[in-house]
């Protein structure tokens, strides 16, 4: 048992830290620090800087030009990202589609798409959920019917994050209705410019346009855009879900959020004294910090296990549940900390006048709290995760 990083891991940490210090754009970091959403230019800039450094493909295997990062390295990178208020990598191309293409795509698909993901030429979005297929994803209804050299796609996807910026979408579509649900699903790559695709914005509870509906009407997709085999899409989708596991607990976000919260609590006054000296507030803060310390180690146990070859399937469900709860508790306490300043509620995409009367750190406290209720819902709700734990770990 040794709780410290190895010398190599510490060296990697120093290297990433130096990169972050030199490259994180102050404008983007300032937005992230107060919870303002980034715009496309902020995300594109960060994408290109990471690519220039080779960090974008860090977790990719060597044969695809990657750095073959270990799970611990990925964890270190995510930790430093959060610590420096650096933008999160938009995951859909680099972190989600790329591993699927690397494992199941054709040589042509790999050669064509992977470089375009790194260069930023392609912005991918995800077409999984549907209005009737959320927790029960396998019940999805978007149909792809073979017509010569094309599939004809009809249906509707939803919760498509940043789909307004995307030129490509990877979709789960139903190609066989005669078999068990999971066995009739295929994984299809679709150009967003194809006639018959319509993207409609969904405004979220904090007034931000972050997700979209994507409608497909007789959309013709070349058959070479099928990934792997027809009707094997569910296997690829599950591979994708278990592949991205190191970041799932959001330990870095929690640490950054807790640090920011402590600074706020030292500034806000309560009965004429700093809020952080108030026993009730201090107790709330301490309970979260204690939970977070335990979660950080739980997370590292799973990360280290992954490097030793353990299949972390259900453990990542544990991290998702606990990580989302702790992060939401931090957002909750950050909202409480600003007191009455939580009431003025300005929505970036709905209000033209962005005036907020309180200090900078207060302007987004309510918005962030409301917006992050999503993290216990998306990517498999906490109820779905608990179901997985019940079956896979507890054997009930």
């Amino acid at each position: 048992m040794d709780l410290n990083y190895t010398a190599e891991e510490r060296a990697f940490q120093q290297e990433v830290r130096a990169f972050m210090k030199a490259n994180v754009a102050p404008e983007a970091a300032a937005k992230i620090a107060v919870g303002t959403h980034l715009d496309k230019a902020d995300m594109d800039l960060w994408h290109s800087r990471l690519n220039a450094q080779g960090y974008l493909a860090g977790p990719w295997p060597k044969e695809f030009g990657g750095g073959a990062w270990s799970a611990v390295q990925k964890h270190i990178f995510e930790e430093e990202t959060a610590y420096h208020n650096a933008p999160r990598i938009v995951p859909f191309g680099v972190g989600m589609l790329a591993p699927v293409l690397q494992a199941f795509g054709s040589k042509e698909q790999q050669d064509y798409y992977l470089p375009r993901i790194l260069s930023g030429e392609d912005w991918w979005c995800q077409g999984y959920s549907e209005p009737g297929a959320g927790s029960d994803l396998a019940s999805l209804k978007t149909r792809a019917v073979r017509d010569g050299d094309h599939y004809i796609v009809n249906g509707q996807k939803t919760w498509t994050t940043l789909g307004q910026y995307a030129n490509k979408i990877f979709c789960l579509v139903r190609t066989d209705t005669s078999v068990k649900q999971q066995q009739g699903i295929s994984f299809l790559l679709i150009d967003m410019d194809t006639p018959g695709i319509e993207v409609r914005p969904i405004i979220l509870i904090d007034g931000v346009h972050e997700v979209n509906e994507v409608w497909f009407t007789d959309v013709r997709v070349p058959v070479e855009n099928l990934v792997g085999e027809e009707n094997k899409g569910w296997t690829y989708a599950k591979y994708l879900l278990t592949h991205e596991r190191t970041g799932i607990a959001g330990v870095g976000f929690c640490n950054a959020g807790l640090d920011a919260l402590k600074r706020v609590a030292k500034t806000e006054m309560h009965h004429g004294r700093p809020l952080i000296e108030n026993p009730h507030f201090a107790a709330r803060l301490a309970r979260i910090e204690i939970d977070l310390m335990a979660m950080a180690t739980t997370n590292l146990r799973v990360v280290a296990g992954a490097d030793e070859g353990a299949a972390p399937g259900a453990e990542s469900s544990m991290l998702k549940v606990k990580g989302s709860i702790i992060r939401q508790q931090i957002n909750d306490l950050a909202r409480r900390a600003v007191g009455p300043w939580a009431v003025p509620f300005v929505s970036e995409d709905l209000d033209s006048n962005l005036y907020h009367p309180g200090p900078d750190y207060a302007a987004k406290a309510s918005n962030t709290y409301m917006n992050n209720r999503k993290i216990s819902i998306y990517g498999g709700s906490n109820e779905v995760q608990r179901g997985i734990i019940t079956k896979a770990i507890l054997g009930l």
Binding site: G134, S135, D136, I203, E268, H280, P344, H356, S366, K374
Partner: protein, 338 residues
């Protein structure tokens, strides 16, 4: 012992509910007598008791009504305390819109020590998070006059008054009010009147929250009955059933806390404030539970602005940021229970 509302209150609640369902404006509420129900007969109204407020605000919360009725009761009540019966009459008739400006930056939820100062019938200072100031004809403002907290009336359109207005998490609008030698008329009353009326307004907010929670619960139950996943309505999953049962239990507890407060609202200040803190603390805890569970059990749809739960959930969260949050009232309850 009788936990039934009087016939008059039940009738008012029923007709208010029907009126709100049709979509009521300010004049409709005034005509229905909703504003009169906030004041005693001595003040020119026909209600004014704790249970009058409870029935009215529970319906306003249930309907998600964003009209500033609470402000009319709070600022109008202060006008009544200061003997301004002509102004109260106009408030009850729906002809004069009023709100109270009493919070100041840096004080969190405390009513003092304030720094806004009166000098030769002008006020200078800054008031924060003033609900519906933009639509008000008159502000009731607390300020120091010879070192004593004194109430003044201020015309928000007068020279020297600047409003910075934003949407409110609770719905409606909220303003920062900057006073720079703004003309003001002394009303008389001071800290004691302010504290008593804030207690009544807290009761109103608690009752509003009960109605809001009922709506959140009803919407969630409807969704659990109709949303199908894995081939069954999700309300068939015991994991959700038991959490919904807890939501129902906690709302009934909160309802009882508001009954306790409504019965004690005219008690001597220490007992009144102790009951106020008990109710507001419990409401704060329960509203958070109900808002978060309603969103979580709905899933993604509840995250959207388009779905009707969004403003309801925000209203529940916003309630904890007014008149003292859960912890502020916990501390005060401990202090007053000693």
């Amino acid at each position: 012992m009788d936990f039934n509302h009087t016939e008059e209150r039940r009738m008012l609640a029923d007709s208010l509910r029907r009126t709100l369902e049709r979509g009521a404006d300010w004049a409709a509420l005034a005509e229905l007598g909703v504003l009169g129900a906030l004041f005693t007969e001595d003040e020119g109204g026909f209600g004014g008791a704790g249970f009058d407020l409870a029935v009215v605000f529970e319906e306003l919360g249930r309907a998600g009504c964003e009209l500033p009725v609470l402000e009319a009761g709070l600022a109008g009540g202060l006008l009544a305390d200061c003997g301004k019966s002509d102004l109260v009459e106009q408030v009850i008739a729906g002809e004069l819109r009023v709100t109270a400006a009493y919070l100041e930056p840096g004080l969190r939820y405390d009513l003092g020590p304030i720094t806004t100062t009166a000098n030769n019938n002008t006020l200078t200072g800054r008031k924060t998070v003033v609900t519906a100031a933009e639509d008000s004809d008159l502000l009731v403002v607390s300020a120091l006059l010879d070192g004593e907290v004194t109430l003044f009336s201020v015309d928000p359109k007068a020279k020297g008054v600047t409003l910075h207005t934003t949407p409110s998490l609770a719905g409606g609008s909220t303003s920062e009010v900057t006073l720079d030698a703004a003309p003001a008329t002394p009303l008389g009353g001071g800290q004691a009147q302010l504290e008593a009326r804030i207690a009544m307004a807290t009761l109103a907010l608690c009752a509003d929250t009960i109605g809001t929670m009922d709506t959140a619960k009803d919407m969630t139950l409807d969704y659990l009955r109709t949303r199908t996943q894995f081939g069954v309505p999700i309300g068939k999953f015991q994991a959700l059933q038991h959490r919904m049962a807890d939501v129902a239990i906690e709302i009934e507890m909160a309802r009882s806390a508001v009954i306790n407060l409504a019965g004690a609202i005219n008690a001597e200040p220490k007992e009144r404030d102790r009951q106020t803190s008990a109710a507001k603390n419990l409401i704060g805890r329960t509203a958070l539970l109900v808002a978060e569970e309603a969103i979580q059990m709905h899933g993604g749809i509840a995250m959207t602005e388009e779905y009707a739960l969004a403003p309801i959930a925000r209203r529940l969260i916003a309630a904890d940021h007014r008149f003292g949050d859960e912890d502020w009232h916990l501390e005060r309850f401990i202090r007053l229970s000693a």
